[in-house]
Amino acid sequence: MSILDAQHDLPAFRQEIRKWLAEVVPPDWKARMARASNEEHIAFQRWWMGERSKVGLAIPHWPKEYGGGGLTQRHLIAIADEIARADAPQNRLFTISLIHMPGTLLPHGNEVQKRRYLAGVAKGEVWCQGFSEPNSGSDLASLRTKAVRDGDHYVINGQKIWSSNSMYADHCLLLTRTDPNVQKHRGITYFIMDMRSPGVEVRPIRQANGRAEFGELFLTDVRIPAENMIGAENNGWRVAQATLASERGVISFEGGERQRYEIEAFYRKSLSAGAAWLRDAQLHREFVSFLAEMQAARRLLRRVLEESETPQASASVLPSIVKLSSTVLRQRICSFMVRIGGVDGQAFALLAEEPFGSPMFDFLSAFSGTIAGGTNEIQRNIVAERGLGMPRV
């Protein structure tokens, strides 16, 4: 059965998703995953991707010619909303596979690449991103990982960092330096790298929240076939803009909706338990202020989605504004939970997912929002320079 059969009737489509979620999502998945090891969590996410694949919900938003469902943005929003409402698992292992890879290949890949790689995702292929380097973070264009042409191959040497789930990845979206003698943005080339190539070594990085979602890539004489280049040689910076732009959209929307259900469940529980913080007028005021900001953030996320289908989207700084407002709000909400959580809220708990379950874990994890995907400082530069026309000096 494919839920996609119901796509022409949006309410029925939603009903089908809701029914499927009720059947397939194990009610205890969160409790189980809360204490799961990395490996168990990865296996669980692969299982979940398999289930989505069975009903046509693995890559519903891709063009039909590449194995997708060809669904509209409205359908994607409905899917994201239903998944958030059901508190179904996230698909973070596949974030790059589902968002960044197609966001890059669809506009810039050649036909062979699209046919080869897009189809692989529904079968469970995991992608990672090799962009940042130890000395090229916010200044990404200064990257130094070298690619040197050798016959019909390129030979890669260098180091990449902050590469989510690279320990489990099959392929990597890789940015390299092919010409060190030109202005830094002009000498970058974009490749697809097979993570099983000889010379690729991955070391996990342990984060402040105790988990290890990132890896560091050490690349020593890795040979990549020239046919794996995306776009032209030295044109990689332009291609990379498509990768970065793909982050805006449905993925943040789902996050915003999840937070709504989480915070609502937290509040209901507080009410029925007569939680102490409700009797503190100042905390109570702070909480309703969060809700006002959360509604505003959810509305802004909807505007980003509306805008993403218009020609103005590529020049808009609204995604940066949304990132600034929603990630800082998330951090403040998590901080609030730590403050009302007392000593118990800081009891060590290593979680695979982020509900408002362990306040300190959630609080620590919230930094991924303000730092990843271009730090909030970089977003401020974007808003000021591109949005407000303040001069770059």
């Binding site: 509040y267 309703v288 809700l291 900001e293 509604q295 953030a297 000096v393």
Partner: protein, 365 residues
């Protein structure tokens, strides 16, 4: 998804553009400064023009001589008035009118709304909606109320210990209370055994309606004012040079400008959300209206304060714009009720909605 009672976007955009155009011309910085220094009667000329253009009837139903554009139309008008820090008794008059529409009854509506819609008269309302009111003795009311409204307002809408009343100002002694915010009129209305010309018996509903109308008005005004002074400040930063470059090029200042811009985007959405929930008459409309006022007025105080600072020395002068907006922001902040009290009411509303098994967080996709 647009609901049936929501006006279409193009109509609202056209309205906004026309209001903005008129105000940019009639109420620019030069005119505004001259008004503040008592050199013109900008409040009166703007009011007359607003009457001719139909703005004063924007929120009033068509059957009473208005344009029937409700909370959506009013939010746009208040936003634009805030943008230019326009002087005049708009918040008081429009809020009184909206309250009369909701709880005034047919006779009161027919008596007052057409004259309000045409701009023949303006109204006054209490600046603070706490439990204090006029004392009622038989058919007569007495007491003093600090109100928002022009010295020549035709009536005051006021609470008594038993329902709300409309009193003709002919029966009142009015003294003007000069404010730091010279773009607003605050008056003290003294009544001694005055006979009300109208009674709105449902005190709770009337108070709620006035609170909602004023909250939306003040929030929209604050959002517009904050956006405008931010734009003016960024424009100034692009021309002001120090260390051989425009100060807009310094990253420390860029980041502040970006944060202000983010605050503005959030404030606008808070206003839109409250307006939308009000227009479609949702059970959570009150909650979001109270929060829009408390959040957005505080955001406006933050923004206007930072805009004074970002201007440097000239930001502290009478001749530049920031202090005008800062003063307007500070008055907006304290109108209706202290924001802490509004948040307490919002918390109570949230608990009531949640306990009844509903969600206060619904949003159209």
């Amino acid at each position: 998804m647009e609901t049936a009672s929501t006006l279409d976007r193009a109509t609202l955009d056209a309205l906004q553009e026309s209001i903005a155009g008129v105000l940019a011309e009639q109420c620019d910085s030069t005119e505004l400064h001259a008004f503040i220094d008592g050199k013109n009667a900008l409040d009166k000329t703007l009011w007359a023009q607003a009457g001719q253009l139909g703005w004063l009837g924007l929120g009033i139903p068509e059957q009473f001589g208005g344009l029937g554009m409700g909370a959506e139309g009013l939010a746009i008008l208040h936003g634009e008035l805030g943008r230019q820090s326009s002087p005049g008794p708009y918040i008081a008059t429009f809020s009184a009118a909206q309250t009369i529409v909701e709880t005034g009854g047919q006779e009161i509506c027919q008596t007052w709304l057409p004259r309000l819609a045409s701009g023949d008269i303006s109204g006054a309302v209490p600046a603070i909606l706490d439990e204090r009111g006029l004392t009622r003795s038989g058919a007569r009311v007495s007491g003093t109320l600090r109100c928002l409204g022009a010295a020549d307002a035709a009536f005051v809408l006021a609470p008594t210990d038993d329902g709300w009343v409309i009193v003709d100002m002919a029966q009142a002694v009015v003294t003007v209370a000069p404010m730091w915010d010279r773009t607003r009129d605050v008056i003290d209305v003294h009544l001694k055994a005055a006979t009300p010309v109208g009674i709105l018996p449902d005190a709770a509903a009337t108070r709620a309606a006035l609170t909602r109308a004023m909250a939306l008005a003040v929030a929209a005004d604050s959002a517009g004012a904050a956006r405008s002074i931010t734009e003016r400040t960024i424009a100034y930063m692009k021309t002001r040079e120090q260390f051989g470059q425009p100060i807009a090029g310094f990253q420390a200042l860029k980041h502040r400008a970006a944060d202000l811009t983010t605050k503005l985007a959030v404030a606008d959405e808070m206003v839109r959300h409250a307006v939308q929930r009000t227009v479609t008459n949702e059970p959570d409309a009150e909650l979001w209206t109270l929060l829009a006022k408390s959040e957005v007025t505080e955001a406006c105080v933050f923004v206007t304060t930072d805009c004074v600072q970002l201007h440097g020395g000239v930001g502290f002068t009478w001749d530049f714009d920031p202090h005008i907006f800062l003063k307007r922001a500070r008055l907006n902040e304290v109108l209706i009720m202290a924001n802490t009290a509004l948040r307490d009411q919002a918390a109570a509303a949230l608990a009531a909605i949640t306990t009844s098994g509903r969600s206060a967080l619904e949003l159209e996709l």
